[in-house]
Amino acid sequence: MIEKALTGSKRYWGWIGFLMIFIIIGALFYIRQYNVGLGVTGLSRDVPWGFYIAQFTFLVGVAASAVMVVLPYYLHNYKAFGKITVLGEFVAISSVIMCMTFIFVDMGQPFRILNVFLHPTLNSLMFWDTVVLSGYLVLNILISYVTFSSERKGIAPPRWIKPFIILSIPWAVSIHTVTAFLYSGLEGRAFWLTAILAPRFLASAFAAGPALLIILVLIVRKVSKLEIEDEPIRKLGVIVAYAMAVNVFFVLMEVFTGVYSDIPEHVHHFEYLYLGLDGHSKLAPWMWVSNILAVFSLVLLIVPRFRNSLNILVMACVAVFISLWIDKGLGMVVTGFVPNPFGEVVEYWPTVPEFFITLSIYALGALILTVLYKVVISIREQVAGYH
């Protein structure tokens, strides 16, 4: 099946080459980071987790969001999602691989990472995160491979795969819940110490993931001869609208509790995030971009006339994705550390090596996704008799 990814148009190879350039640049920077240490990043003893872990957190959400196509299709027999379900599962696969790579590059001693399995520690959420993420990757590879092989042969998927598909639904919820628990179970970090963190993570994931999927499906429609109707895309748009509305609602609840209670330990984090604290405000302008994009996207998503126009929907999706990326991939993790346990503001900003290593992992994810989508496109075009 994978051989379909080895033949393609000039445009296909051009895109692969383009991604490879970024992967190689990032790999070179990683060699430097490996030799020097994480000192090449902007991290410090005050902000020990930054860009890498934030991308990991954001992408766990994108991975989990595959459930938004899997659930309607398999549990509610919503046929319109038939053609895009495998595309959603492939987003999950590439996202989980990116997550794992982000964890790997964040480790001080990456080649000791298997110590997590050598000394399994049930009381550590990080152990559970490793378990659920690996399991989710295996489930999605298995399910997408088996169901797509059947599709290729024009037969129904074997019955034995159904329990795995059902299992993958709560499993998707679990990966993002456990990832939220990494943060929300820490007594010393007031910003994350909130029961709504996991629900909020899920809401933002179910907005950002399907928003990305809409963009990807529209690209697939453009670059291939695959016929994908508007209906599943519009339905995804409704999912994005609900999830984004719920996410914004959750954020406002957080802000209310933090600001109205006025407990210094809580309110200082929000001050830093949105206004700046003690003259430090690196994140604030980004957060306001995120807020504005969130409101803008909600207007486009909630008004049916806008949402049902695919051109406007795609704009809304781009806005949702950028807004939530800033919120989770930039603000959420770092703000938990500012101010630090001493009430002091030590800011963080990613360095050039950190930025390029991050970019290369996104390029790696895009490469994996491209290859997987290429296989689907080639086989479906073949089955449909285009070549």
Binding site: G39, P48, N340, P341
Partner: protein
């Protein structure tokens, strides 16, 4: 598995002790002999100092009134004995014990009318060796653990994968990560204590290695003003227990339930 390893570490510690008992001068080196405590007698027998629940008392009045703002004795002794590197860039900083303001250490417990001698002075901070340590709870490899015998929160730098979850979980900012190779930044390497490699976490260990050879923690030993007291809280006769029972003391962020074992007399 972790238990076996710890047992192994304990055994190797005992082996080291046997070795030390044979020839203390050679093992401890010349400069260190001045710091040997009374428990380490002159006839060559070394008795480890043992306790069931070690705790540290920081007498802020003694520290600030007698030591004053520029006194760095405890920090210097600790960092010299433990090969703690000096970095110019604060991003790379490693510290085991250091000075901060009263405001920074106790921002939830102060008010504006407190004695200025305390609020304007320094507050020594270090790992609190919590009775319920969040760092131990989150570590995915049991590279950090609370020693059953005496409550010291230990660190296995050979097992640590450098994920820094413990640094994130510590409510006291007590842990440091080796962002770079620390060795070129150590002024004079003490061969009696291991240096670290880049990519692992470290922190104060209540001088577990010194206790094992009958010596009090380096910081306590170095303080000329008796501002640092160290002892066993399970022992009703211990000095620390008596002082705590005699007056009022505070701890950092007690509301979190971590049960820090560093107490402050104000």
């Amino acid at each position: 598995m972790g238990f076996d390893r710890r047992k192994f570490l304990k055994l190797s510690g005992l082996t080291f002790l046997g070795f030390a008992a044979g020839s203390p001068a050679r093992v401890f080196g010349q400069q260190d002999t001045t710091m040997v405590d009374s428990t380490a007698t002159g006839d060559g027998t070394i008795t480890p100092i043992s306790g069931s629940r070690w705790a540290m008392l920081v007498d802020l009045r003694a520290c600030n009134e007698k030591g004053g703002e520029d006194c760095d004795d405890c920090i210097a002794a600790c960092h010299r004995v433990h090969n703690v590197p000096e970095f110019d860039d604060s991003h790379d900083e490693i510290k085991w014990i250091w000075k901060t303001s009263f405001h920074s250490a106790f921002h939830s417990q102060e008010h504006e009318f407190l004695d200025e001698a305390i609020t304007h002075g320094n507050t020594m901070v270090l790992c609190n060796h919590c009775d319920r340590p969040p760092c131990v709870r989150v570590c995915p490899t049991q590279a950090t653990w609370k020693r059953e015998s005496d409550g010291i929160v230990m660190m296995d730098m050979h097992r640590c994968i450098g994920c820094r979850y413990c640094v994130v979980a510590c409510p006291y900012g007590a842990r440091s990560f080796n962002f770079r190779d620390p060795r070129p930044h150590i002024e004079e390497i003490n061969p009696k204590f291991p240096t670290r490699m880049r990519g692992v976490v470290e922190k104060c260990n209540f001088c577990a290695e010194r206790l094992a050879t009958g010596k009090m923690p380096a910081c306590v030993k170095a303080c000329k003003h008796g501002a640092l007291k160290f002892g066993d809280l399970e022992d009703p006769q211990s000095e620390v227990r008596k002082i705590l029972g005699d007056g009022f003391s505070i701890r950092r962020r007690p509301e979190l339930g971590t049960q820090p074992q560093v107490y402050y007399l104000v």
